[in-house]
Subunit: 244 residues, 2 copies
């Protein structure tokens, strides 16, 4: 009996370890993205360089979680909810590793963006977008830690805000690019940065869906109508209006 309880405690401890590592990965991914945006808007190439090197931490953490998960499955042979929890940890660590990659990719573009003189409003747009995405990320990590499945629905709804904001930032960047050919190259990089931020929002939503599945064994409704209309954006009507 004592031996059995000891064994159960060990399994709980292993699970707690996974949860803690994911929390740590999440915090690290958040910081990478925050710092990448900061480096971008202040043209801080030294900071950008440190972020790029930092990404290795997340790659290592993801591998560690994957391997730990496999060991737990092999050793403990968990069933049902516990097994979903461990598979969920594998998926979430994969999403967080990609968030770190997206932060790294933003950092890589700092030099190219600093080439041009970007009007503050473009950077403000990017910062507003990243504030939204980071709020989503913090929220989903909190939902994960507290297992508050009831908060998932609002989180998914808020992803629409990110998509809408991304779409208008996309349009704004295209307009600026059309004003002066010297804006084109740096703004293209900003466009990719904006896309990366929108994808960070998507990863937060993916993580929420994994949490929901882990907790309930059910999927959220498969079809999330995306509000990202950026792939439709055409400017010809605008150019004709401008008397081209």
């Amino acid at each position: 009996m004592v031996a059995q309880q000891h064994s159960v405690r060990s399994y709980d401890e292993e699970l707690k370890f996974l949860v803690a590592r994911i929390g740590a990965m999440g915090g690290h991914a958040e910081r990478m993205v925050e710092r990448a945006i900061s480096a971008l808007v202040t043209s801080d190439t030294a900071l950008a360089q440190r972020i790029i090197l930092d990404d290795k931490l997340l790659d290592d953490a993801q591998r560690e979680i994957d391997e730990k998960a496999v060991v737990i499955i092999a050793r403990r042979q968990p069933l049902a909810h516990d097994l979903r929890e461990i598979i969920g940890a594998i998926r979430i660590s994969s999403d967080l590793e990609r968030v770190g990659d997206l932060g790294k990719n933003i950092a890589k573009r700092v030099v190219a963006v600093s080439e041009g003189l970007q009007p503050p409003r473009l950077f403000r747009g990017l910062e507003a977008l990243s504030d939204l995405a980071l709020t989503q990320l913090k929220e989903v990590l909190d939902i994960f830690a507290s297992r508050s499945v009831d908060r998932i629905s609002s989180l998914r709804d808020r992803d629409d805000n990110i998509d809408q904001m991304y779409t208008s930032l996309f349009r704004e960047l295209l307009t600026y690019m059309m004003e002066d050919p010297r804006n084109i190259a740096p703004c293209t990089h900003l466009l990719f940065c904006a896309k990366n931020i929108e994808r960070i929002g998507d990863h937060a939503t993916n993580i929420a869906e994994t949490i929901f599945y882990t907790a309930t064994g059910r999927l959220l409704p498969a079809e999330r109508a995306k509000d990202d209309r950026s792939h439709h954006i055409m400017m010809a009507p605008m150019l004709r209006k401008a008397g081209e």
Copy 2:
């Protein structure tokens, strides 16, 4: 003894099922990408629409594989190599689902790209890039089916070709955008399409790494020096040279 053998055969059958589903997913993902590129260069919006709807098949297949994998783990309690194989299936199906998403995203941009009149050479560049990426995808699915781990090293090396080609296509598109503001919006979408194709190449490489880990229990060297220098591209020197 007979019962034991029967049980072993059932496990083999379940594993074969997973392998077959992944092969089917891979074939479907390939076709989606091929058709998306075709729709793009021929401005075939009807085809694009069908591709967008088709993506659901891959989402469903991924979920099916995930759930089947969890059931197998719970029921069979596999160890070591077999467990790695099943976790590997989960990861590979996730990579293939994303490849389908990338094909869908290319299809979504067909209308916006068809707005402008794109010179054939830009489409040729995109087709060449996608030929490379699709070759990688076919190769890695073949490696998966035949377990030919020895072919993985050359596959990773060929990823450099994709990155280099992507970088020059990026530069070519920027140049075209600077020639005429009416090119900017459609070329921005082409740029995102090119980026999506480059990422398809990355997913092929990810799958190769998973196959290697499954087969050997070891990781390939973590640091792949990426040849994608596109995040550095700046055009100001070129503009100054042009007597701007």
